[in-house]
Symmetry: C2
């Protein structure tokens, strides 16, 4: 299917290429058409890859992957345009990381609100599904990368059950996530976004970013 | 050794009894000596169990387990008395859960501070080790309870390396935690305390509180 990837950083590149490998057509969106990193990604990914503005990409995609830095997410989606998001599944991978106070980052929204919720409130006609934000992007598209013999848990949050099921079936399952917990509505994104503080500290303590969280039960 | 358990709730009872089973002498502390729940616990746990005020317990213990509700932790420690905490290992299991805004609870401290840090700041001569706060109390003292075939990860945070090592060797290891990650100083308690929001939502989604978090790597 036609999919938009918003964001030209490492997460956007990794998700975009993984979607191409699944047979989808992907348009990478950025602030302005012709973004150098987006063009490089298109060149590397063949005929099913294209690029354009946030608005071009969102108009193209039936599903929209939000791979922007958290503090740019709402602006990117406003640039994409509410009309281009309406009725569509919006997979929110972004995190409200605040690097302005030094390392490790804190969160600029948490506890009684979340970035996932702010997106859903701002674009009520989109079907926001928060997922994948709790692992490194290489692990997102290859759950087995953490360990060959074990597998982490992935969470999904969102108000639309069909949208969550669609994301699980079309993306999480092919990417190796065979233990998925549906936490409930989009307010549960508070829980997964608040995993970032332990993520960054585990990464610092172990020197390994290719890990995942497993709910042992 | 002589150990204080501050708090007479389910966590205090479970930790206290597990310490007795490890061969320690345990004094359970509460606001006033003779607390009904503390007396019941002593009756059930034999000759090595005793009870008293927070101050009695803290004076008795070489190690102090903080098993109070988070919003009562600092008051309980003030009642215990800085002089009775000085130089001792203080195992902080409490969480800054805020039930005042309804369910699921939010946190009354997070992101740029933590309850573990507040304890360490308030009692600079104590050696605070934050651990065990991320699982149900039955799992705290029996890591295998989550699953017979798998085992979660336990984190420790604290400024004193010897204190952390002492807690791992004397308590975490006998309780079955064979995968322990030392996150670093007490500021890393922000990470583990911020696991509570995903804990409560996972519990709500699965109906099972006897789970643990494993870092798959």
């Amino acid at each position: 299917m036609n999919i938009a990837v918003l964001g030209t950083g490492m997460v956007g590149h990794t998700i975009g290429s993984a979607l191409i490998r699944l047979g989808h057509s992907v348009k990478m969106g950025s602030r302005t058409k012709g973004n150098e990193k987006a063009v490089a990604w298109v060149t590397a990914n063949g005929a099913n890859a294209s690029e354009g503005s946030f608005s071009d990409a969102a108009a193209f995609g039936k599903v929209i992957f939000v791979c922007t830095k958290g503090d740019g997410t709402l602006d990117a989606l406003r640039a994409a345009g509410a009309v281009n998001l309406a009725g569509k599944v919006l997979v929110d991978i972004s995190n409200p990381l605040d690097f302005s106070k030094g390392m490790p980052p804190s969160l600029f929204i948490c506890n009684t609100d979340s970035l996932g919720e702010q997106i859903q409130h701002t674009f009520p006609d989109a079907k926001v599904v928060k997922t994948l934000n709790i692992v490194n992007c290489e692990v997102m598209v290859n759950a087995g990368k953490s360990s060959p013999n074990d597998r982490g848990t992935m969470f999904v949050s969102g108000n639309d059950a069909d949208a969550k099921q669609m994301v699980v079936g079309n993306f999480l399952t092919p990417w190796g996530w065979n233990d998925v917990i549906d936490l409930g509505d989009i307010t549960t994104a508070r829980g997964t976004e608040m995993l970032l503080p332990i993520w960054v500290r585990t990464w610092a303590a172990t020197g390994n970013g290719h890990f995942s969280f497993k709910i042992v039960r």
